[in-house]
């Protein structure tokens, strides 16, 4: 008997989620800019994944005699100071930039999620402890933290992801904590408890899914911010080992050439701006689409 109930319950939940997703998608479609952004992002992701096939040249092949060429037939976006094709580097750069953004956010979300859930669910002392610790993290300038991390652990890709993501952990912690707090008292939680669900199950299966909306929205913004952060870190000299192609590093390398070879700066700048813009617009669109109060 209980089994059938559980199956029925699960099925209903799936249908609900599916229905909600459908509904969300329908509402999202109304926002033309958001849909456009999603489209662009998908294209970028595809380009990145299939970079080996799409890019006309490799991203590290130097041509010391073809340096600093303006955009031409052979090199659509020109070459950089080592003679590498900029378009190819941008395409390959998609991989790194998007993955750094996604993983940095993912890690921060995971860490912040745990901290926020525990703080929100158990409240009182643990809550105070965790939130004060988050306050302390917020007091340390993020550039400093990133500098120190990279200085200590090196400039590898994982370290860059860590350095970019770590200062955003308090933000996610707070967000999830707030969501948990407002959902904690709802009836279905009591119902779940009555059936004997443990804390972990309640948090993960019941409460968190309802927080999905703000998390999703914040995450899209987070990826955008991460991309910009990496660009800023490259400026400070915390870039990746050459010859790895990454938009932020390309931007900071182009800084010295801005006068006579401005195309070196424009290409990655426009690419970053476009990606960040699309991510932000998509985030805004998602928030509007997921907001129950805005149902017409």
């Amino acid at each position: 008997m209980a089994d059938i109930d559980k199956k029925a319950r699960d099925k209903t939940k799936i249908i609900n989620i599916f229905g909600e997703t459908n509904e969300t998608w329908r509402r999202l479609k109304k926002n033309k800019t958001a849909v456009f952004s999603l489209f662009v992002l998908i294209i970028l992701a595809v380009l990145g994944i299939f970079a080996d096939f799409v890019a006309p040249y490799s991203y590290f092949e130097q041509n010391l005699h073809d340096l600093l060429q303006a955009p031409s037939r052979a090199h659509w976006l020109g070459t950089d100071q080592y003679g590498r094709d900029i378009l190819s580097r941008l395409i390959y750069g998609t991989r790194i930039s998007l993955s750094v953004g996604l993983i940095a956010v993912g890690l921060a979300l995971f860490a912040g999620g745990i901290l926020g859930s525990v703080a929100g669910f158990y409240g009182k002392r643990i809550d105070t402890l965790i939130m004060r610790f988050m306050d302390i993290m917020l007091s340390i300038p993020s550039v400093l933290l990133a500098l120190a991390i990279v200085a200590t652990f090196g400039t590898s890709l994982p370290n860059l992801m860590l350095a970019t993501g770590i200062s955003t952990v308090p933000g996610y912690a707070r967000l999830i904590r707030a969501s948990i707090l407002s959902n904690k008292e709802h009836e279905y939680v009591e119902a779940a408890r009555a059936v004997g669900a443990g804390d972990f199950e309640i948090i993960t299966k019941h409460i968190l899914p309802n927080c999905l909306a703000p998390i999703l929205v914040q995450a899209t913004f987070g990826v955008a911010t991460a991309i910009l952060t990496v660009a800023g870190l490259s400026f400070v000299g915390l870039g990746l080992q050459p010859p790895i192609a990454e938009w932020g590093s390309m931007l900071s390398e182009a800084r010295g050439y801005i006068r006579d070879y401005s195309y070196m700066l424009i290409s990655p700048a426009v690419t970053i701006a476009l990606t960040v813009f699309c991510l932000n617009t998509l985030g805004d669109g998602l928030r509007d689409a997921l907001d129950p109060k805005l149902r017409d």
Binding site: P141, I149, R174, A178, F235, V276, F277, K293, L294
Partner: protein
Amino acid sequence: MIKYVLRRILFLVPTLLLVSFCVYAIVHAAPGDPAQLALGEGATQAAVEVKRIELGLDKPFIYQYFAWLKNVVFHFDFGSSYRSEISVAYQIRSYFPNTLKLAGLSVFFGALIGIPIGILASVKQSSWFDNFVMSIAMIGMSVPAFVLALVMILIFSVKLRWLPSSGFSTVSEMLLPITALGMQPMAICARMTRSSMLEVIRQDYIRTIRAKGQSELKVIVHHAFKNALMPILTTIGLQFGALIGGAFVTETIFLIPGLGRLLVTAVTNRDYPLVLGGVVCVATVVAITNLLIDVAYALVDPRVQAQFKNAGGGAFSWPTLIKRQGIKPK
């Protein structure tokens, strides 16, 4: 309320302790010998050894931290830079006002433009105006600040010669840096305002006030906006805090002697006293800013005030309160 404020100020002490300790640990862990860096390249190993002892670097790490702490607490002495031996307090005193001005004015500029945009967009939600205006705001946020700064300098300083390209004392010198740095706060303010206003506009009491016959302008500005204000103020506070220690790039490009630059240089040189002094300064500003925002929060919203009175101020922080207001969708 007073009790709450006092508790928060008291809490500043352990916060600063923890922040300084964490930062000290982190920077200490980074490779690089402060003694050798203080002496510069080309120093002999022998001299480096002597310097290490002079700076107390041969003592255990905890001992060094407490030695610093002792000086700060009992003598108000933040020590001297390892590199230049110039007093840390003197350097921070020289750099701090500029940072305060830069961060404050940039955020102010951002809010000045962002809030009206957000209000307008929320009122005309989903219209072309909404999309257009928010898109512009987004673009401001999508370009890294330093790119914007570089391009603006190129156009307005170098090519057109309208504005100076560096410095921060006169109004014309301040225009470019504040604009470059203010773009992101502006966009975030606009989005936050819009989102917050949307939440409030749909409340029943707004409909009631409208029904009472108040002019639309008054409804929006006087009633709706006031209630939407808190999350916006919080965001501004956050932005301000972030800029205090994080405007390194802009400061470098515009030659503004600010804390961001000082901290980065100090960390690069493993100049522990300077790093600690700078971080304590930043952390204090951030904490005070948060406190002021929280107090403002309580002053404006009686519901919040009640919560303060109930809970005694322990576990509350502003973001909980934003979320309780239900600004983000549930």
